[in-house]
Symmetry: C2
Amino acid sequence: MNKSGPRRGRRPGGPDTRVAILDVARRRFLEDGYHAVTLRSIAGEAEVDLALISYYFGSKKGLFGAALALGANPAEVLARVVAEGDLSTFPERVIRQVLAVWDDPVTGPPLLAMLKSAIDDDSLGGLVKEAVEREIVDRIAGLVQGREARQRAASFTTVVAGLIATRYLLRLEPIVSMTADEVVRFVSPQLRQALRGPGRPAPNARPAGRPAPSR
Amino acid sequence: MNKSGPRRGRRPGGPDTRVAILDVARRRFLEDGYHAVTLRSIAGEAEVDLALISYYFGSKKGLFGAALALGANPAEVLARVVAEGDLSTFPERVIRQVLAVWDDPVTGPPLLAMLKSAIDDDSLGGLVKEAVEREIVDRIAGLVQGREARQRAASFTTVVAGLIATRYLLRLEPIVSMTADEVVRFVSPQLRQALRGPGRPAPNARPAGRPAPSR
DNA sequence: CGGATTTATTCATCACGGACGAATTCTAGA
DNA sequence: TCTAGAATTCGTCCGTGATGAATAAATCCG
């Protein structure tokens, strides 16, 4: 009966609400993906009023961004891989590292969620694109050093992107069910080939043969 | 004031409603992507009552599936590519075909939208995944014929997926700005390598060096 | 200490989207 | 012609993200 007590207004105690929300949000987003998660469910789980989310983060996207800003950026991972070992084993090391990170149940889902949301939201996509260009392609290009380094680095990135796309985004068989060793065995030759680059630069020399099927 | 006339009920004339809906739906989905399109807007544009969509297709997803079942499926494209020419030029032909379709301002965007939609909705992703496995991987596997054909076909698919992911999904430089010829030059070696497969099966032989960074 | 201000919280709604069920009317088949 | 089913419309439900007003605690400042 007691309709009582102060209902509205600030509740006593320190405002750790913000981090509570962020905490729950991060976990939920990474578990279930952006669209599947509802703000109400986050608010409920964090034992917080729905409006507080808007209050602190403005919008669902804002919350998502804030939640993802925490930890796990791929650039560091690459940096580590690049740093250790020499160029001859680079492809294998990259694949193993990619698999280690993406297969890991704690680091994988965040990356996946980030990637997915970057894909369906163009503004986020732009950020990812630039980060990848700057932190990955340019870095690899610096490594390979030779003519057409940037294109070769990009080819390399393309193959890695394909691996990620098929194994984690699309979950394509038989890629998904391959062991790490198998993936290394089947994919590293392509990476190596990419680094090596196409045979002769052939700036405009078209030896003979077909003049490139004109379309 | 005449509130009049028969309002409810079946309207006279042949029921071409179903295809009308499908028509609009297809275009809209491919233009704007799954989430951005609302059933109400489709109904409006098709000059049809909202409930008719449920009536005919059950749900939004049902409509999406039905809309995509129509035409422009990549399987046919592959089939055409596979049919003509011999295996030695297969990689180049695939790349050129992929570029032709995805760069085309009329066929490209639809595919892109479809892909994006499939990525952020898992149930749709499942459909795409199965289609790709069945129509692409298995088909290529049938072509290459040899040991580990399926894995080699999958590797091939991975490289193609990478190309699509970087050039169209992520729009990564310098991939996006390459001409078709450049793409062919830089990517086809990897495709060829993928078809060839890794050198020796090497079931458990690990030459020497480090025993694969254990984690 | 005591008001004024800022910060945190709750409640009440809004507008919109998808889905459904009941009612209605037309078409087709016996 | 009578009747079963197909096609169509309306009204409504429920869940979603977002926002504004009201309220109360915390903080600042003299």
